[in-house]
Symmetry: C3
Subunit: 343 residues, 3 copies
Amino acid sequence: MSKQTVYTLGELSALLEVELRGDPTLQIDGLATLKNATVGKLSFLSNPRYVHQLASTQASAVIINSAFSDSCSCAQLLTSNPYVSYAKASQLFAPERADEPGVHPTASVHPSAVLAPQVSIGPHAVIAAGVTIGARTRIGAGCSIGARSSIGEDCTLFANVSVYHDVLIGDRAVLHSSVVIGADGFGFAFDGKQSIKIAQLGGVQIGSDVEIGAGSTIDRGALDDTIIEHGVKIDNHVQIAHNCIIGEHTIICGCSAIAGSTTIGRYCTIGGGVGVIGHLHIADKVMISAMSLVSQSISEPGVYSSGTGLLESKEWKRNIVRFRQLDDMAKRLKELEKLTLGK
Amino acid sequence: MSKQTVYTLGELSALLEVELRGDPTLQIDGLATLKNATVGKLSFLSNPRYVHQLASTQASAVIINSAFSDSCSCAQLLTSNPYVSYAKASQLFAPERADEPGVHPTASVHPSAVLAPQVSIGPHAVIAAGVTIGARTRIGAGCSIGARSSIGEDCTLFANVSVYHDVLIGDRAVLHSSVVIGADGFGFAFDGKQSIKIAQLGGVQIGSDVEIGAGSTIDRGALDDTIIEHGVKIDNHVQIAHNCIIGEHTIICGCSAIAGSTTIGRYCTIGGGVGVIGHLHIADKVMISAMSLVSQSISEPGVYSSGTGLLESKEWKRNIVRFRQLDDMAKRLKELEKLTLGK
Amino acid sequence: MSKQTVYTLGELSALLEVELRGDPTLQIDGLATLKNATVGKLSFLSNPRYVHQLASTQASAVIINSAFSDSCSCAQLLTSNPYVSYAKASQLFAPERADEPGVHPTASVHPSAVLAPQVSIGPHAVIAAGVTIGARTRIGAGCSIGARSSIGEDCTLFANVSVYHDVLIGDRAVLHSSVVIGADGFGFAFDGKQSIKIAQLGGVQIGSDVEIGAGSTIDRGALDDTIIEHGVKIDNHVQIAHNCIIGEHTIICGCSAIAGSTTIGRYCTIGGGVGVIGHLHIADKVMISAMSLVSQSISEPGVYSSGTGLLESKEWKRNIVRFRQLDDMAKRLKELEKLTLGK
């Protein structure tokens, strides 16, 4: 059952539930940017900055807001949110994944594991005792699923994902290569001479519609579980420490790290390279800009930042010297004000 | 031989070497926080902030400092360091790992490799020529151990760990999934046109009682070895570059990176997301706060930080503009002082 | 065919194309630093800071600039760039990798894959449909190569590398363990309630002579390809997001992240832990210092930095408080200047 790779504009209009302005029999065989599109391609205008590209695009059709309709001489798919319609169209043109249903003969599946219909288990994958895998879920080559873990329906685990024991993952999850779910949280008690390991007895619960980028890690809880709620999207190289709770539909960009027992609200956007220290509480709809350090709880929605901004190094060094004198400067300024203003 | 999952309070008192106040026949089947404990659970009070939870906890017993003994109506295990006793108790309740001794039929073990008694080699693991594995060590599914490497006794390597050739690892090491030990250090010589690779001829030496978190990487040395001393604990996503030396019992939190040839002392705590540049020397008992950049050697124990702290972005932008004017401001302040104070 | 492990000085002089001052029959069996060298070792002096070590080194010969020749009493290999000659020498002494040509019996190779002569496919590696592997390339244990991807000649993929579908990699590439090439770029369209996945329909193109460190990730493009040009060297834990273009011979140090659609020029040096936000354009020959955040395009070559520098935490806290008052301080300074200077 191979996937459709060419659609008529009429079919696309119906599938995307958007209004068509143009010839419904026109054949579309792929997506492209306005700049690089050739005949037969569907493009989109989401950012008004690119509106000038409409005049010269070779695209056969464009997903567009009706406000810009007049700037465009080719066929149009009209929608109030072209970026969302483009996202839906991209899924129509995504190549079928190669993995066929069934257990590859080189995979190791424990006899007590329960595999739902149409599950695909790739070469050299390892499914431990008591694991449950939902219908149509695909486990990539070299993945390892630990004892008693459960993975929902329609999930995709790419090659070399490691899921430890007692991890629960919902439906439609996408886990990219080298992801590690359920490794021990980083917990030690120092006895004055050495660090005594605190066994991490909790698990991990991951909701439905969660995507986790390549190399990201979500540690298991110390006593209670680490929790990733529905619809959370996590980019590459992200670290979620033990007992964090990440609220529904929050987005965490690449290389960010959330330290232990921190709760992040719903619909937050955590920029790339952000650090959030442990035991904090971040409200819903908070945005953190790239490479900020969040060192205190945030109770109000809004945009938050830290850092100094980039300078040419010579200039930066001059200012850095002054940063070290800043408290002194503030006191001297106060002193001058006293003398000059009498306050 | 399955592991004990229920203990009497009397047994726990003996195993943890702490004083019991309460009924020694009481059965304990797990650990829980004060807040979430139910009947049959053992809890602990380490942080005095939670002392108010003693009144309402459903725990059957609590590990506690005798100073707080009176606030607690349930059975007690009295100890001067409840956090350490909790750590030891957590190990008693840790689930038995599934891997049984023996070489899984799908593993590839080179005939010249030497496996001590009760070693477990998981499915699809690869053990190269000349490797030595100590007694009771468990090599997880899909791990790869390179030529001539040696792993001590009672180690645990979780799934998909990669150990290159000529790496020495001591006893009781724990390496989590996607860890990479002994990849090439990042060394190139620029000839004016391109970068010529410097073959990394050194190895890696890791002491005993070292834990390394998921996805962390420790590169092999250029000529001499990279060295991780006894008792070092490394969290997830940490990068240790070639020829670093990390002193005994130092703790490195998640997403930190130590650049090449830097030496870090004993009993240091490196916070999360910290960067330490190359060729530095950090003294014993230094603490670095999260996301600091260490750009110079540190000769005295103490706590060190960098960064600006988090602000609401509007406020941050106003101050960032001034940061760029800081050197100018300092000069103008000096000028005013001359005029006003005559100095 | 085992590799040569001992060379005469005469052979080394010829192989490295440098002038020999000393006995050409002298046997050299390895490389070492000036400080740790023993008899039979070849050392090098690159950094003049170590010139004093020449007097006491036990090395049998030294790679050295003729300017320092008189400070050295042992045999010499004279060159204008000792660091480059040392790099070349290091390759001569690198141990032969163990993998022999051929497909390991446990590997899974799709019948439609095309393997050139002398390719080595390691244990449990998986080669999907339509893959092409160039001559003498070695695919390590547990690697997964996705459908239709192509890997050039003389490449080395260490254990547990994941290459997705439709990825092109040139000749002489080195990919270290846990590298992930071609995972989905992080693209979602928010429809007001949830994030709709944008299928990542582009691929990844990697030029020749590229090295990619352990655990690094390079995402596939949304529509066009992500591109890594010839000679780029990437350290561990680096994240390259979708549709980035990294120019020839640029070096990216560990734990740096380049956000989506950013173009970086040729011969740049991106320090460790750097973040570059998306949709920027960085000129050729730009250097970014460690842990800087690049938040705007850079059109001129030069060195750029951000951050505050490290302070003892007590002092840092005093200055951080003032950082928050910086805009206020600047205004008060201006006011005083008006009063005092009448400007």
